[in-house]
Symmetry: C2
Subunit: 553 residues, 2 copies
């Protein structure tokens, strides 16, 4: 318990150092300077990608930890909710995801309400607690502490640490999202950052101090802050308000990830290190794919860890401090290179920041290695490798899609051979035959016979309608359609020996309503997919022509 106080002060100091240090980043990168951008621009691609990997992990962890902790807060007030906290956390996640997909940024003021509510309910609690402490004197620990104090100390320190880390992620999100602030963007962002860091420091030091000096002990299914609020306010309405606003502010913290993650992901993706879809704005001008990706990752973590915040914290800390160290180091290089007015002071400030976060990174990585830090230390190189492989694919793609080397005037194709698979002789194939006849050099109809004898029947009908077009009947005793058809196509193409692959004209009738679709084989869909992905033996690629016949009812 004696450890809680110095550790709390150390974390507060770290918070303040990082905040001051990041204030400089905001002014230096008014267009958004997340760890990825700063590290990439000043240290190079590899350090940038390492920071990126750490950040992506961290945003997902922040969302998961915030939601889980929020549900723990509300379950402390309503113990009946405790067994359902995983499900409730997932429900809240879904809500936040949907809100973000609809474009929550417009309603940024809405997000500030929980923050004010929290301050209005939480700051008075600290004041009342402090006056109580002043009037009644500190509680002797021996009076209240149950035997398992050791466990509770660890619990408290971890909790303090997690809160600190969440605050740090908030700082990263601010410096990454400068353009989203009202003009003057850099100034407003930096003010927000300072206010947030100060408030965090007050809340943090206040809560730790009160918890320790009032001898607050949490029950097994209660958070330490709930126990503190109960001690100060009793179990009445003010207590319930504090717990509810705690849930709300933690939801806002989770939402920070939803603001930051898609943005970072889109920057990485537009550099070609992540799938391009992640760089695209969706219909509602939000990064739809990034939001969905974050939501899936967060949900997975909540389920995997079954709402256990403490297991997530060592993972969390490594990520956040890795990204911060690289960003700060990048800023040091930035000042060294640019040497604008007052560069040396700024260099020293960022240097102290870099040193502090690197030191924390080493301590946490070493002491928590077996408790989960190893996982992040292993995951970061994997992600970085993935980034490079994706980039390599896009580079390859550019070369393969280049028009360089093609003759300046391209001739149209000579007329093609056409293969026309039919499922029988009926109205649905008529348009396909007519279309094939309008351009093909030679048409071969193909019928795959599943029931012996049917082929002969189909042949007679076919010949009464199209006597000039040859029909090939392929028996398929094992009732597969795709396999025998592909064998036929390969054989036919190689026999014709004209260097072409036959075009496949697929007649397809489209049902009038979705449920009618359930009443038909999806053979044409299967065939199209197979033709598109599996038919690639030849240099020249086969064309697939879909001739739909729409049913009226």
């Amino acid at each position: 318990m004696a450890l809680a106080w110095p550790i709390g002060l150390a974390i507060t100091a770290l918070l303040i150092i990082v905040a001051i240090s990041y204030r400089q980043t905001i002014y230096a990168y008014p267009s958004g300077g997340g760890s990825y951008v700063v590290a990439r621009d000043n240290l190079g691609t590899l350090p940038g990608l390492i920071a990126a990997a750490a950040l992506l992990i961290d945003y997902i962890l922040t969302a998961a930890v915030s939601l889980t902790a929020g549900l723990e807060a509300i379950a402390s007030a309503f113990p009946g909710l405790y067994p359902h906290r995983v499900l409730l956390a997932l429900g809240l996640l879904l809500l936040i995801t949907l809100a973000n997909l609809r474009g929550l940024r417009e309603t940024g003021t809405l997000m500030s309400i929980p923050v004010y509510l929290f301050l209005v309910s939480y700051l008075p609690m600290l004041l009342i607690g402090a006056s109580k402490l002043f009037l009644e004197g500190p509680a002797s620990l021996a009076q209240v502490a149950p035997p398992a104090t050791q466990g509770i100390t660890t619990f408290l320190i971890l909790h303090a640490f997690a809160t600190g880390c969440t605050a740090l992620t908030g700082i990263e999100a601010i410096s990454n999202g400068v353009p989203a602030f009202r003009p003057p963007e850099a100034k407003n962002a930096s003010q927000t950052l300072v206010v947030m860091a100060l408030l965090m420091a007050i809340l943090f030091v206040g809560s730790i101090g009160l918890t320790q000096y009032l001898g607050v002990i949490a029950g097994p299914q209660e958070t330490i802050l709930s126990a503190l609020a109960r001690k100060v306010y009793g179990s009445g309405l003010p207590y319930l308000v504090v717990q509810t606003t705690t849930l709300l502010i933690l939801a806002v913290a989770a939402n920070t990830s939803f603001a930051g993650f898609p943005r970072v992901v889109s920057i990485i993706a537009s550099d070609g290190f992540l799938p391009r879809q992640l760089a695209n704005l969706g219909d509602r001008l939000v990064f739809t794919n990034g939001i969905v990706l974050l939501s899936l990752g967060t949900g997975l973590l909540i389920v995997l860890f079954q709402g256990n915040t403490h297991a997530l914290i060592p993972l969390f800390a490594v990520g956040v401090f890795l990204a911060f160290s690289l960003s700060q180091a990048g800023m040091v290089v930035h000042w060294w290179r640019n040497r604008e007015k007052g560069w040396s002071t700024k260099l020293v400030i960022n240097g102290v920041g870099a040193l502090a976060t690197t030191l924390t990174l080493l301590i946490v990585g070493y002491s928590k290695f077996l408790e989960g830090a190893w996982f992040i230390i292993a995951l970061v190189p994997l992600l970085v490798t993935m980034f490079f492989r994706i980039k390599a694919h896009y580079n390859q793609l550019r070369k393969q899609l280049s028009l360089a080397g093609l003759p300046p005037s391209l001739k149209p194709y000579p007329p093609m051979r056409v293969v026309l698979p039919i499922s029988g002789v009926h109205r649905g194939i008529v348009e396909a035959v007519r279309f094939a006849e309008s351009f093909a050099r030679h048409i071969t109809a193909v019928y795959v016979e599943l029931e012996p004898g049917q082929g002969e029947h189909v042949r007679q009908e076919w010949e009464s309608w199209w006597p000039d077009i040859p029909l090939v009947v392929i028996p398929s005793p094992y009732r597969s359609i795709v396999g025998p058809l592909f064998e036929f196509l390969d054989k036919y193409d190689s026999e014709c020996n004209d260097g072409q692959q036959a075009a496949v004209v697929l007649p397809e009738f489209i049902p009038a309503s979705w449920w009618h679709g359930l009443l038909h084989n999806q053979t044409s869909w299967l065939l199209k997919t197979a033709l598109l992905y599996r038919r690639r033996h030849f240099g020249f690629q086969g064309v697939i022509i879909d001739v739909p016949y729409h049913l009226k009812r």
Copy 2:
């Protein structure tokens, strides 16, 4: 408790009546005479479909009840398994499903092993129990009965009833699957039926009698038969053997559904009352789709009822007796119409059968209405309505696909207009342009511009390669591709006023490996689906031409 004995005898009598009655059906319908076929042929389509609906529900219930009861048997011996019985039942279901998908029918002898094992372990138990009873005299109930005897009686009767119904489903499966027996099929099937009914009667009467006279009481997580076996054998190896073989024989009972359900479903589907896919044999000559459907239904029931057999039984009984009554009534009509040798005796036998099952149906339907029978009574008409709607769709389809009324010689299409959506000017669109040039009357390239300014860039590149083909740039500020393209197509088609819909030629590059697919937008897939299903304003339908360009790496 006094009720158990007469009810047991009544069920046994019912079993014997039904068995004799069905023996006649087997000889009259050597090609397989399930309730659906018999009711359809003799009473008409509607009664046939009612029987069919009842049967389908019943097969699913049989599989679910057998698996759940089997797991209850084994959990009685190993209480540690009790909390996991739902999961274990699902695992067993998966195993049986996979075995059937691979074509289990070939290994029918394998299925007989559990039956023999069960008889070898269970019959001696009845003998030993009977001799114990003979030597020691019946237990006085007062000595052993705990206060909750009333509940246990209900439990026992329900259990007895369920066992009886399972046996009845077995009878239905035999008469439905006559052709699967060795020749002479009818004779072997009828012998199997008689042997099964006799054994069932012995086991049934024996177990009920012993349970009652030995005063056997089951614990809360134990089956009554487990309690009986424990009473007779103690808790040693013989007891464990009995419980294990009970599980095995119940798995065989579940497997009966897997033999019967897909067969009935395929008969109904080939009459056009269910989706046609269910009538098709798969690659391994089993009714793949029917097996999968049964497995999904069974799994759903097991999960919904959380392994509670008793809740399922009222549902079960209504279905089985409804199907049986219709089948027996159908046989009465059959004999009346055919009047072959000895028809009057046969008519009387089936008449008695019909009367007995109808009576049971009414009793169960009335007394168990609120306990779940209402569900079946409501579900059957729903299923029958579905059958008729499916049939109506297929009739409609036949009319719409008919070639009647088409002119005897069809002219090929005049050359078409082509619209060519491009994602940029690159190697991947070259083949598409060349192909379009080979047959089109007029080509229009279209570029949907997501980022302002990109369109101009694309236009310049396009004009340097294909100056003769017009390019239309459509700005899309809301970043949707499908919507603006469809608007363009509709406008273009209506302006051209030639009664045609333009063919759409889609250039598509196909990545070399599946994971590369994740790195690209699935725009062409989206477009193809939309073109196929949503573009249906015109009388004449638009052709979709997919020109793949396969990437090498």
